[in-house]
């Protein structure tokens, strides 16, 4: 790793200020939540901060706070704590399951929700130090290279898939992200937090310099709401999603009153499927309906040379997840 200074932030304001100070004096700064992703990138010299602003010492930002018509989740909560919380389990199973599906206990014990949402791409070109778009270069190597794990939706000019498991879950829950920066706070809907490469090829989200993700608000679960997260891994554990599905259904008896279906592992952002949601709404979820949902899910897929298998895979995953969730008592 390049030599750097570690700065411990006491609170959000100070964290933002230290980052801004560093930048103004010509230094590169990075925030560290759990730091598990940041350190790996620094060791490969893919990111080279002069200053790390550690958020670990900030008190209270690892809590779950009910209120505001829902629950506010501090950005520094660990994935482990999030996955074990009884309220989250009861009301937002999709989020608990997504958090529990991340990597390993060791990573979940340090990895924070904010860090998980802001982790950089796991495209093997990027992580192997290729000078691609995500690394400030002008070329995507995957598009005509080894793209087995790359995007089938929303790709170009970069074809990464968004790596976070919690991201599709939060989009499916209509969460709102609270961002704190040098000029104050702002809130954005989860779905608007993530950006496609055609909007900004170098970044995965709307965070500007020195801005950080402070917390996430999830609205109260409506009556009859149930949710689940299904993830296909590339071995039995410890990989990112090849494809995942975050599904939230509001059921009224046998009938679906409202639906959210958001995919992971298929696009540079959590990939919401509004047509599928419309299809499901107002329907009894039969095998036929679920099958149509699967077909519709991949209607717009544009696979690359080596990731065509993701199309039938996504189709099946959507069909099976929707059906299983609808049938749950």
């Amino acid at each position: 790793m390049k030599t750097f200074t570690n700065v411990n932030a006491r609170d959000l304001r100070q964290a933002v200020a230290r980052s801004a100070d560093a930048r103004q004096s010509g230094q590169a700064a990075s925030f560290a939540g759990g730091g598990s992703d940041l350190l790996a990138l620094m060791k490969e010299r893919i990111v080279r901060p002069d200053v790390i602003v550690s958020l670990k010492p900030i008190k209270g930002l690892d809590q779950l706070t009910p209120g505001g018509g829902g629950i506010t989740i501090g950005g520094l909560i660990t994935l482990d704590a999030l996955s074990r919380d009884a309220r989250i389990h009861r009301q937002y199973a999709v989020l608990a399951e997504a958090a529990a599906s991340v990597a390993t206990p060791q990573i979940r014990n340090v990895g924070t929700l904010a860090g998980n949402l802001c982790q950089r791409p796991w495209c093997w070109y990027y992580r192997n130090g290729f000078p691609c778009l995500k690394a400030g270069g002008s070329q995507c190597f995957s598009v005509s290279g080894e793209n087995q794990f790359h995007a089938i939706f929303g790709g170009g000019p970069s074809y990464i898939v968004h790596p976070s498991d919690t991201a599709p879950a939060l989009v499916a829950l209509d969460a709102t992200f609270r961002i704190v920066g040098p000029s104050g706070e702002r809130e954005v809907p989860a779905a608007d937090f993530f950006v496609l490469p055609r909007q900004n090829a170098a970044a995965e989200n709307v965070l500007a310099n020195d801005e950080l993700l402070a917390s996430v608000h999830v609205p109260t679960a409506a009556g009859g709401m149930r949710s689940m997260y299904e993830k296909v891994l590339d071995r039995e554990a410890w990989t990112h999603a090849v494809v995942s599905a975050a599904v939230v259904l509001r059921m009224d008896g046998q009938t679906c009153r409202d639906a959210r279906v958001v995919l992971g592992g298929v696009a540079p952002i959590p990939w919401r499927l509004p047509e599928v949601e419309r299809l499901l709404t107002g329907q009894r979820i039969t095998e036929e309906v679920a099958a149509r949902a699967g077909e519709l899910a991949v209607a717009g897929a544009r696979p690359l040379a080596k990731n065509g298998y993701k199309v039938p895979l996504t189709n099946a995953l959507v069909r099976r997840t929707v059906l299983e969730l609808a049938r749950r008592a």
């Binding site: 200074t5 570690n6 350190l39 190597f141 071995r235």
Partner: protein
């Protein structure tokens, strides 16, 4: 068994129960006779040097200096530092740390707590697991500065004053550690689980340890230790004579099918490793744990190009950096790495070195693959060394490259060597490896049915948990190299030859080693580079490879393309087998590139032409059963398909066509192949699980079964052993083994105890140091037990004779016996046999393949230590799961750079990928080898990919013709 172990432990002096541990008290003993070839002075010097290592590895600071945060190293004002407070293994500490240190680095380098290992430094393996505020975390992925205010527990803090923690005892009893490199991490994860769940289920245990990889594949054992019972049913317990012998109520799910063997005293009883305690307490010293006074840290600069000529290298800036002590490039280091190329599969020797046209240097120009070393730097610490690499300016003329063997043989392909891309053998001939019997042309012409197909296998990396490292130090003209080698004798000889030194001026030490898996019974370029840097700098040097460098710069199984043509009668009797194949060797030919498996079949006409080809990929070499797993997969998939096309049950097909005479003509010393297959089929319930109609079954989740079988060389051969008896009645066995994970030390102790007729506790083993141990063949080719074991028996026999003649030694007297037998089998072939039966579950919509049932039946002769032997088979099978389903060093074709470097992208199997692997030994004694022992180590691996691939094909009704059988291939085959 358990009782004996706990007694040991409650003695409270577990460190001293095993006096062969580094810092052996030998210097205080006097002896009348020294082992041949070793002077007494050598012993004393050796011991002294070992003590230095131990002392240097002790904590650099102590907890009492609480007044001010103590400074751990000479502070560099340019490097930001932080003062932190931590509670470390229960003791409050204030420490002054550099901001750039990871927690692992603080623990290992600056606090001497080297029980925490670094396998990847990236959060991909778990070797570095410690508890932070009671929770397992990867200490490589945390800065030391972030630990401020936390409580940290490491493996060193687990044992209590009165002995081992119960979990540590269970880890030893259940044979958790093979090489032991992952053990600390597994233990810390299991410990955290036990604190919240005292009676975990198997699933709990797997979930808790899933973040801890074990390349030895010993997952079953770690789970068993954590849940406190074995996974497999214990078969034939009543019929097993051993269950009467004291070791029967073992942790081992080993079954013994034949009750015919005579019962022995120590041999044959499941025995935990004699150094198990060192391995579960973090006390075992691996090469990376060695820290010598004044030691420098080295890093290697590697080619980013698949093929390039170096026009110039400018090292002036790097050399001028403060803290840089030595820089090497081709310009000031012309050392040839003999074993790195052109050995053509033979042990490298002076004749080969003299004539070879294709020399591989420590630093090459042109560079021929991404990862070829270009320069090396030694500096006061690893951060400076890394920075210095960035200051080296290399001007490359980038050349065209070629990655695939068949493309490399095309007439217009770029030539990697002037002689062309067909790899040269030791006689500088560009010739394929050819084997013929009968006349294949006639055989195929006469066959009633013929079949053709093509199979491919991928580059599989060794991926041993311990990244390559070497520590070199010169005392005057004598070089000592600490290095993870499976063969200290060959390694020493290679280093000496490459550096132009006489053998006796080189000492090679390997006390513990984090996994072997092949190509380590010689020296490595890291040994040479460390030695040359140490010479240049005038100080000891530790050269560490990162995990990624280990993946791109070392070696793995050669990828193959195999074309088969098979002829049979209409009743399914083999008439002819033809194989034409290509093996990708990378740009240097380290090994043969062969493809084995044809000889498994009784067939009058065979012809194999295997062409080893140079490519600009990472160098291929021997990996666990060098030519077998890929060859067995190819031919046994082919034959499985032939059987299915002939509407035959594959087991019937095998029984009809399997080898009964070696190479169709030579009898085996004994023959149990048929028994292995029949018994395995019965235990596995083959008839029930195998689908006559492949791919049938309702629903998306299909099941299928597959079988594979083998005969595996178990040759006898030369090795040496020395045994010494002192007046206290303690026997010390000197053997040149390094114990790479198979438990060789324990095996030798068991054999010695048996041959001497004394209890195991009276035997001490000295190993892994060329200045202290006689020649050993080295741990490759699954032959240590047989060859070195024979030497131990012979030395013991001699010693018993001496005792009978002279009486036991008194006072300062000693009796010493040595032996170097060269046993041979005349007119027969000695072979181990086995068969694996696998059931898989394949979700044909998600493309997910999972091994759900596994039965491995082996005849490896008499099993010296059933506990360790079963672990070996389990581990081999586990590794085979990775080879069958995931592992592949994939390249970007545009740049020739590898992509799947490291444990994460290469998808090494985890706890969740490996089911219970049931091991059944059919024991036989052919009157040869130590008590009838045959080879074990590689055979589990050789069989598993073939059985798994056949099972997947049986489940989905499509022949899987390419390894690994990844999701895209499964879905592709079904599309």
């Amino acid at each position: 068994m358990k009782n004996r172990l706990s007694l040991r432990v409650y003695n409270g002096t577990f460190r001293y129960r095993f006096p062969h541990f580094a810092g052996d008290t030998m210097s205080t003993r006097r002896r009348s006779t020294d082992p041949p070839g070793l002077s007494r002075r050598d012993f004393l010097e050796t011991t002294a040097a070992t003590v230095v290592v131990a002392a240097a590895a002790a904590p650099a600071i102590d907890g009492q200096a609480l007044a001010g945060a103590p400074t751990l190293v000479q502070p560099d004002p340019a490097v930001p530092r932080s003062a932190i407070r931590v509670t470390l293994n229960g003791t409050a500490r204030r420490l002054d740390v550099e901001d750039r240190w990871t927690l692992a680095e603080l623990l290992r380098d600056h606090l001497g707590l080297t029980g925490t290992k670094i396998g990847c430094d990236r959060g991909e393996c778990g070797a570095c697991t410690v508890l932070m505020d009671g929770k397992p975390v990867y200490s490589c992925s945390q800065l030391a500065a972030w630990a401020d205010g936390c409580s940290i527990e490491t493996v060193e803090g687990v044992a209590k004053k009165d002995g081992l923690e119960a979990l540590q005892r269970a880890f030893v009893a259940h044979d958790g550690p093979q090489c032991g490199f992952c053990t600390s991490g597994q233990l810390m994860s299991a410990l955290a689980l036990h604190r919240v769940n005292a009676r975990p289920t198997v699933e709990d245990a797997r979930a808790a340890m899933v973040g801890n990889l074990c390349r030895c594949g010993n997952y079953n054992r770690y789970v068993e230790a954590t849940v406190g019972h074995s996974l497999s049913p214990s078969r034939d317990a009543a019929a097993n004579p051993r269950s009467l012998g004291g070791g029967g109520q073992s942790a081992s799910p080993v079954a013994t099918a034949s009750a015919a063997l005579s019962l022995l005293h120590t041999v044959g009883h499941p025995t935990p490793k004699i150094d198990g305690v060192e391995r579960v307490t973090g006390q075992a010293t691996y090469t990376g744990d060695v820290k010598l006074p004044g030691m420098l840290y080295a890093r290697v600069l590697r080619s980013p190009h698949a093929h390039a000529r170096i026009r110039s290298i400018d090292v002036s800036k790097a050399r001028a950096m403060p803290g840089v002590k030595a820089v090497l490039t081709r310009e000031n280091c012309e050392v040839v790495w003999g074993a790195g190329a052109i050995a053509g599969g033979q042990q490298y020797n002076d004749d080969i070195k003299r004539i070879t046209k294709q020399r591989r240097y420590a630093f090459n120009n042109p560079v021929r693959f991404v990862g070829d070393p270009v320069a090396a730097v030694a500096a006061v610490n690893r951060h400076v060394a890394e920075e210095a690499l960035l200051q080296i300016l290399v001007d490359y003329e980038v050349l065209p490259f070629v990655l695939e063997p068949e493309e490399a043989l095309a007439p217009n392909a770029v030539k990697i060597w002037p002689e062309g891309n067909l790899a040269l053998n030791v006689r500088n001939e560009a010739q394929p490896n050819v084997q013929t019997r009968g006349n294949v042309g006639n055989g195929l012409a006469a066959a009633e049915r013929t079949f053709e197909d093509r199979f491919t296998t991928a580059f599989e990396h060794n991926a041993q948990m311990e990244p390559r490292v070497a520590v070199a130090t010169w005392e005057g003209e004598k070089l000592t190299v600490y290095t993870p080698t499976g063969g200290i004798a060959n390694c020493r000889h290679d280093i000496a030859r490459d550096l132009g030194l006489p053998d006796d001026r080189v000492r090679v030490v390997c006390q513990y080693m984090g996994g072997n898996f092949g190509n380590k019974n010689q020296n490595q370029d890291a040994d040479l580079i460390a030695a040359m840097l140490a010479k240049e700098a005038g100080a000891p040097v530790k050269l560490e490879l990162s995990r990624k460098e280990d993946f791109i710069g070392m070696h793995g199984r050669w990828p193959t393309i195999q074309y088969y043509t098979v002829g049979t009668t209409s009743a399914g009797t083999l008439q002819a087998i033809q194989l034409r194949a290509y093996s990708g060797m990378g740009p240097y030919r380290k090994n043969t590139g062969n493809i084995g498996g044809i000889d498994l079949y009784q067939c009058p006409n065979i012809e194999t032409v295997v062409t080893p080809v140079y490519t600009n990929k990472t160098v291929s070499g021997n990996l666990r059963g060098p030519e077998y797993p890929q060859g067995f997969y190819g031919i046994q998939s082919m034959m499985d398909d032939v059987a299915s096309k002939l509407k035959m049950d594959p087991v019937e097909f095998i029984l009809k066509n399997m080898t009964r005479l070696a190479r169709n003509e030579v009898p085996y010393t004994n023959y149990t192949l048929e028994e292995c297959i029949r018994r395995g089929a019965e235990i596995f319930e083959w008839k029930k699980r195998w689908r006559q109609d492949p791919g049938s079954g309702r629903g998306p989740v299909k099941r299928g079964a597959g079988v594979s079988f083998m005969a595996f060389r178990s040759e006898l051969g030369r090795s040496s052993a020395v045994i010494r008896l002192d007046a206290s009645g303690q026997y010390t066995v000197f053997v040149g083994v390094t114990d790479v994970g198979g438990g060789a030390k324990t095996t030798m102790a068991l054999i010695a105890a048996e041959a001497l007729g004394v209890p195991l506790s009276q035997v001490t083993v000295v190993w892994g140091d060329t200045d202290r141990c006689p020649y050993s063949v080295g741990e490759s080719g699954s032959r240590t037990t047989i060859m070195t074991g024979d030497a131990v028996i012979e030395a013991a026999r001699d010693l018993r004779k001496q005792i009978a003649e002279k009486g036991p030694p008194k006072g300062a007297e000693m009796l010493v016996a040595s032996a170097t037998p060269t046993p041979r089998v005349e007119g027969k072939v000695r072979s181990a046999f086995g068969a694996h039966f696998v059931e898989v579950e394949v979700d044909v919509e998600l493309g997910r393949a999972r091994v759900v049932k596994y039965v491995a039946v082996h005849d490896s002769g008499r099993i010296i230590n059933p506990l360790a032997a079963a672990s070996q088979i389990k581990g081999g099978a586990a590794m085979g799961i990775g080879m069958a389903l995931h592992e592949d060093l994939r390249y970007d074709r545009q740049t020739g750079r590898p992509l799947t470097t490291g444990f994460y992208y290469d998808r090494i199997p985890t706890h969740r990928d490996v089911p219970d692997i049931e091991v059944v030994f059919i024991e036989s004694d052919d009157g040869l080898g130590p008590y009838g022992a045959k080879s074990v180590g590689e055979s589990g691996k050789a069989l598993s990919p073939a059985a798994i691939a056949n099972a997947v094909s049986n489940a989905i009704g499509r022949r899987m013709k390419d390894l690994p059988i990844t999701r895209d291939r499964i879905l592709g085959a079904l599309a």
